[in-house]
């Protein structure tokens, strides 16, 4: 998903409070506090900080995210990225240097694992 052009951007010196919803991709390099319910990919840049419960299509974290995440697609924590909260997603990837504090729940047929 890296290299994919994201439509929206919250710049590094911008502070956004509130509830964000709709259908679009968004890159957050600034600070967001509130709630995100977006049908699209949210990317949190290295300097980005998100404190919010997230319901998204996909989430890519290079910065810091605090809140529970629900993703219909994949969640990836890149190097330097930090996620504090429970994650529910179809796919989860944590790269070297990425950190996750919380639980993981993935939707899959667990018949064989039991």
């Amino acid at each position: 998903m890296t290299g994919r052009r994201l439509d929206g951007t919250i710049g590094p010196d911008l502070v956004v409070h509130g509830k964000l919803d709709g259908k679009s991709d968004l890159r957050i390099d600034g600070i967001f506090e509130g709630e995100i319910d977006v049908d699209g990919t949210i990317a949190v840049g290295p300097d980005g900080s998100v404190t919010a419960p997230l319901r998204v299509s996909a989430l890519e974290i290079e910065g810091e995210v605090r809140g529970d995440v629900t993703a219909s697609g994949g969640v990836s924590v890149r190097a330097g990225g930090r996620l504090v909260g429970d994650v529910r997603a179809r796919r989860i990837a944590i790269d070297d240097g990425g950190s996750l504090q919380g639980g993981i729940e993935m939707d899959f047929d667990d018949g064989e694992a039991r």
């Binding site: 439509d7 919250i10 010196d13 502070v15 509830k19 679009s24 600034g30």
Partner: protein
Amino acid sequence: MSVRTSLLPAGLTLVGSIEGKGDLVIAGTVEGPIEVDGDLLIEEGGVVRGDVRAASLVIKGQLGGDASAKVSLRVEPSATVVGDVAAPRVNIVEGARVRGRVTMTGEPVVPPAVRRRRRGPEPVPATASAPATAAPVTPPPSVSASEDHAPKARRRRRRGARKPPPPTIPTVPRQKARRKDRTFEPAP
């Protein structure tokens, strides 16, 4: 688009506030106040319901709230603004729908220089500066009209002041008139 430019894309709705540094483009919907130290553009299709503050402000979409710019404020033809707008320079392009008070704060730096240059050749350009000031077309012309009349009145006064010496002659008909009055008065 520079790195400092932020964009709230079409399709996204924010119920809350945005504040900080850099330029900002709103193509989606924001319900709440916005304050940035850079340029703020409300794109065509963008909607903001809340007060907005920026260094310079361009509105192409819809704004329901008061707008305040430190430098300049421009309302494009596609825009709808319901609220007061305030800035040192306010441009409202023909076609824009605006309902609210327009306040041009402070003393504009550019407009006076333009007026001085244009006053020389013709007084007409004074009305030409009207679109630069605001949509209300009627007030500026009235100002220019009064400016036109003022010098004429001065000229008349000056001419009148120079003529008084000869009027010694006109005094004769005045005396005749008085005599006629006097002659008519006692008659009845």
